[in-house]
Symmetry: C2
Subunit: 282 residues, 2 copies
């Protein structure tokens, strides 16, 4: 499952498969202190980044996820100027943040410098934004970084791997509490919160942790073809609870969406509609 | 890829994979005059029906698709009494139609009687509704059946396989014209119209055919984890054009959604919101 000219299957729950694809070429493979990093090429999906053999992103569909992780919280904050991305070393989330006029500073806090290195070489359309003068790249543990900052960020996006391995701590009540403290009073955060189709218990326990730390949590849906089941969730939390519909900056959303392939104002409203089986679990 | 104790990969576009899973057991395999039919078992997904090695449905996620193919058009028609399902031999769509009070007659027109046979044995939760006295099962070519009926059905759902093999004709302008003629004046139809994430050109050409035949077409989205990319589209057409929002029967939708795992009134509104890349193509 790791060599060129063979099929890769992302194994899920032992017996089901997430994305599968033929590996036309292995472009990059290194073991970092945190994880195994690979970039492989597939004719249909483009370049694909794998961390510990889990698909993180593909050229073909990265915009679904990045648009929704970033623009939903960003348009629910009044004039966000200072933004933090935790994880997301590929640069896709930073690229989206920079589409918002008024942003003065974006910190990318990625624990694994080799993810950034791989992205700079094989995902230039995502990572090139890291050279923008407003961007500060910090290679360190997000948990420690967030603890050390208070009332500083108007928006924080947790662009993490799954809650196994290096990212476990990024799903804890304690970490969400630090995030809340690191936000300005008008601030909001978003995080990727796993698949409601195939891991609903996990989504539910993450959202519960967020509710405990923030006193509010608004899960929303985004299709991500390259993730297991293709149906993913993100969750929005406010430092000071508000109704997402009331604080939505429609003008900025319309402006930004002109440069988006997925996000627009209809999608923004629609993504909070949850199917019965998800609503009941959350 | 066909025996127990091996992995199955649904090959898409030669090099990408749709659903993949470990085959714990092959429960049924027959060659009908139309296609190869298999039912296999996977511990995570339950029973899975494959037609010509393409995944048609799994126990785990069949409700996403059936809810949305059926309840969206059914709630956009005033008091539908007479309903036709073209394809859908598994019975899942018929089961959903019968949730609507007022339905007096449902015709299931499936070309391949062996699909019904396999479903009766291995998907009883879907197929048992076929014994309801309001249901008439007709094993014949949908194209011929529809041609022979005029102004007869208040709602028609095309629950077909992909536009290859036996189902090609179910995506033609001519067939959509016959569907229009088979509808009553207040009638609407829905059809599965492929993946906008991975086959946008195909979606676009199907919707174009529908617009030519009906003069209107309203594509909407539904996540279907077991189909390639996990993001699927259906399309709604009216015999006499109307705004789906204006004709939506919210009371009936609320009643029906109490017995649905996916569908509800929020989802009904939300499903018509299309991402930019899809809107631009359609």
């Amino acid at each position: 499952m790791r060599t060129a000219d063979s099929w890769f299957i992302e194994v899920f729950d032992g017996k089901a498969g997430g994305l599968s694809f033929y590996i036309d070429e292995v472009l990059y493979e290194k073991q970092s202190p945190y994880q195994n990093i690979k970039v492989v090429r597939n004719a249909f999906l483009g370049n694909i980044m794998l961390l510990d053999d889990l698909v993180m992103l593909t050229d073909k569909d990265e915009f679904f996820y990045h648009d929704m992780l970033v623009h939903v919280p960003m348009t629910c904050v009044d004039n966000p100027e200072s933004v933090l991305i935790v994880g997301g070393g590929d640069g896709g989330s930073v690229r989206e943040v920079l589409k918002h006029p008024g942003v003065r500073r974006v910190v990318l806090c990625e624990i694994d410098g080799m993810v950034i290195e791989a992205a700079r070489e094989y995902f230039p359309a995502l990572s090139s934004c890291l050279d923008d003068p407003r961007v500060e790249v910090v290679v360190t543990d997000g948990i420690e970084y967030v603890k050390a900052h208070r009332n500083e960020f108007d928006c924080i996006c947790i662009d993490s791997t799954d809650p196994i391995g290096p990212a476990v701590g990024l799903f804890s009540i304690e970490f969400y509490g630090s995030i809340r403290d690191a936000l300005t009073d008008r601030g909001a955060m978003s995080a990727q919160t796993e698949s409601p189709a195939w891991s609903l218990d996990q989504v539910s326990s993450i959202v519960k942790n967020m509710r405990q730390a923030f006193g509010n949590a608004y899960p929303y849906l985004v299709p991500v073809p390259c993730y297991p089941s293709g149906l993913w969730s993100c969750t929005l939390c406010f430092k000071q609870d508000r109704n997402p519909a009331d604080v939505f900056d429609r003008d900025r959303a319309e402006l930004v969406s002109q440069r988006c392939r997925y996000y627009n104002t209809d999608i923004h409203r629609a993504c909070f509609a949850l199917p019965n089986f998800i609503k009941q679990a959350l």
